[in-house]
C-alpha cells in the first residue's frame, strides 16, 4: 500500500542523506521525496512517499524515528489529509490549433501558462498525482518537451498538525 510519511527533521547538512541512506541500505523504496525548510528555520519538513506491507511501513517509521535528526513523523494516510504535487510541463504549441487546444485543457485542469514563446507553452499545474497524470494523458496529441514534478507534499486535515 502507498504511504505518505511526513517528517520534521533538523535543518542540518547531512540529514537528507541519512534518510536517503537508510532507505537504500535497508532496501525500502522511495516513490518521491521532497524537503524544504519550515517557518522555523531550524527545522525542515520532508514528505516521503513509499510503498510496502504494514510490517515494512512499521519498520520504516521505527527506523526513521531512530535517526537522531528526525524530530517527529507521521504517516499521513492513517488519517484525513491533503496532498498536492506541482508539475511544470513544457509543450510544443506552434500552430493556432495546438495553442487553442492546450489553453483549453489548461483551463479545464485549472493550471496556468507561466511562459510563452512562439512555439512553446510552459504550464504550471498543481494537484494530486492522479490529476497530473490525467492532464498528461489529455495532452496525448501534443508533443511534450519536458516535465518536472515536485513530488508529493502533504498535510493533515483539520486542527491536528505535525509540530514540536
Amino acid at each position: 500500500m502507498r504511504h505518505i510519511i511526513s517528517i520534521l527533521l533538523e535543518n542540518e547538512a547531512g540529514a537528507l542523506s541519512r534518510v536517503a541512506g537508510l532507505f537504500s541500505a535497508r532496501g525500502y523504496n522511495i516513490e518521491s521525496l521532497t524537503v524544504a525548510p519550515t517557518e522555523d528555520p531550524s527545522l525542515s519538513r520532508m514528505t516521503l512517499v513509499t510503498r510496502g506491507s504494514d510490517q515494512i511501513i512499521e519498520q520504516i517509521t521505527k527506523q526513521l524515528n531512530k535517526l537522531i535528526e528526525v524530530v517527529k513523523l507521521i504517516d499521513l494516510v492513517e488519517g484525513e489529509h491533503v496532498e498536492r504535487e506541482l508539475m511544470l510541463i513544457k509543450v510544443v504549441a506552434a500552430t493556432a490549433e495546438d495553442r487553442n487546444e492546450v489553453k483549453r485543457l489548461v483551463d479545464i485542469f485549472r493550471g496556468n501558462i507561466v511562459d510563452v514563446t512562439t512555439t512553446t507553452y510552459t504550464i504550471e499545474l498543481t494537484g494530486t498525482g492522479d490529476k497530473l497524470e490525467g492532464f498528461m494523458a489529455a495532452l496525448a496529441d501534443v508533443k511534450i518537451l519536458e516535465t518536472v514534478r515536485s513530488g508529493v507534499s502533504g498535510i493533515l486535515r483539520g486542527e491536528k498538525s505535525l509540530h514540536i
Binding site: A13, G21, I68, V71
Partner: protein, 565 residues
Amino acid sequence: MELSGADILCRSLADEGVKYLFGYPGGAVLHIYDAIYRQDKVEHILVRHEQAATHAADGYARSTGKPGVVLVTSGPGATNAVTGIATAYMDSIPMVVITGQVPTNMIGNDAFQEVDSVGITRPCVKHNFLVKDVKDLAETIKKAFHIALTGRPGPVLIDLPKDVTADKCEYIYPENIDIRSYHPVTKGHPRQIKHAVEMMLEAKRPVLYTGGGVVLDDASQYLVELAQKLNFPVTNTLMGLGAYPATDRQFLGMLGMHGTYEANMSMHHTDVLIAIGARFDDRVTGNIEKFCPDARIIHVDVDPASISKNVTVDVPIVGTVGSVLKDMLALLAEAEQPAEQKEALAEWWKQIDEWRAMDCLKFTQGDEIIKPQYVVQKLWEITQGDAFVTSDVGQHQMFAAQYYKFDKPRRWINSGGLGTMGFGLPAAMGVQLAHPDETVACVTGEGSIQMNIQELSTCLQYSLPIKVISLNNRYLGMVRQWQEFFYQSRYSMSYMDALPDFSALAESYGHVGMRIEKPGDVEGALIEAMKLKDRLVFMDFVTDQTENVYPMIPAGAGLNEMILV
C-alpha cells in the same frame, strides 16, 4: 582563557572521565597529538593499526560498560577504523571515535588523505558529526557521549578538520545536554508489563531467551531473580552469555545455529517465549517459518525497531531491560505463582532434562590429537570459570561459547553481529587495560590471529599479559566445515599453508611462545602459562584438522532440525 580545538578535545575527554584513548597519529591530527603530549589526564594507547584501536576500545567498553574512545587520522586512518566501528555498531557497543579531517577549506577537493568519513561511516554508526566551528566542539563531544551511551548504545563518530583543532575559543564543557529530537524510552509501558506478567504466569512451557541487552544494561541480577523466582529455564544468545550463570541448573546453554539440543528443543516447544534484550537474529531463529510454532511471544527491548522486525510478537515492551525486569519483579512480588503452573513446570523440566541427557556437547579426547573443545574446557577449569575471554570468529569462537561456562556478565567478549576476524587480540588489550589484575584469554585460530597479529607489539609496549590460546588446525575451520557439509568437501581456499612458527614469532615480539602438540601436555601448558602473570603467552595448540562444531542447524532448517554429530 581561550583554548585550541585540540586542547578542548583533550579537556573534554578528561572531563568526560575518559581514561584511555586508543589511537594512531597522522597528519590531520598532529595538533591533537601535540595537545595529548602536553596533558596527563587521558592516557593514549598507541596501537599498530587503526582497526585494532577500535577493537581495543570496544573490548574496553564491553568489559566495563564505559564508552571506548578512539582517535585516528583522516583518510586511511578513518577507513581502517571502519571495520571496528561496524563491529561495535552491530553489537550495540558504546564508543566515541574521533577522526581527523583535512582543513575545512580543502574538504571536497580530493586533498591528501581526504575521505568523506561522515559519509563512509553513516550506515554503521549510531550518529556522526562533522565539526566545522571550534565553538561547537565541546558541545558536540558531550552530545556524542550522550548518544553513544543512552538508548540502544552504539558508536558515534566526530570528524574534526585540522583547522578546527588549531582555532581557539573559550572552553566550557556542558554539564547536561538536551537533544530535542532524541529522547529514548527507558520505562516500559505499565499495562504491557502487566499483560506480560499475566502471560508468564499462564505459561506451561516457558523459556527466557535473553541477549546482549541484558549485559549492556547491567541487568543480570534482575534476570537471575526473575528466572529463579519462577523456576523458568533460561537460554542466552551468543551475545548474552554470562548474563545468566552457565553453571546453574536452570541454564540451557546457548541457543541457535550452534546452540545446545536442550536450548533449541525448548525454544521449539515453548508456549510462552520471553525475549529480553535479544533481537531474533537469523543465527538464532533458523528458518523463521518454523520458529517457535506454538509460542506467544513477549519481547523486551530498548530499541522499538528491534521489536517485530524478524518475528511478530504478541507483547512488545519498549524500555531498558533493567527497568522492565524490575517492574516485572515488583508485580510478581504481589502475585502468587499458580499451583497449576508449578505442576506444569515440573513436567516441562522433566522433558528438558531428557533433552539435556543427550549430552550434545560430549566429545572424546584421545591420546594422539588435541581436540579444540578439550583446550577450552581445560582453560575453563584452570581459570575456574573466572577469566575474561575474548575470541575471534569461526570454529574456535563457537567452541569457546559452548565450553567456557560464563557465570558472570561482561566476561565473554566477541564479535557476534558482524563476525569480525581479527577482533580477539586487540579486544583483549582493551579488556586487560581495564582489568590489569584479571586473567584475560584470547581464544583464537591461526587464521583470525593473523588478521591483527601486529598488535603483539602493542602488548609488549604496554606490558599486557594476555594469554593467547590459538587453536591451530591449519584450516579456516568454519569455512572448511561448511565446505565439507554443503560443497561435497571441496576445500576451496580454506587451507592455511605457509604458516609461521607462532611460538617463535611471539618470542621475537618479546613474549613467551609455546607450541603444544599432545593432549597430555594441554593442562600442564595452561597451568604454566597462567603462572606467568606478567607475561603475554602465545599458546599454539595444534588441534584436530577435521573437528566440526556440533550441534548445527543448517541454513533454512528449524530449531528442532539439528545435526547432532
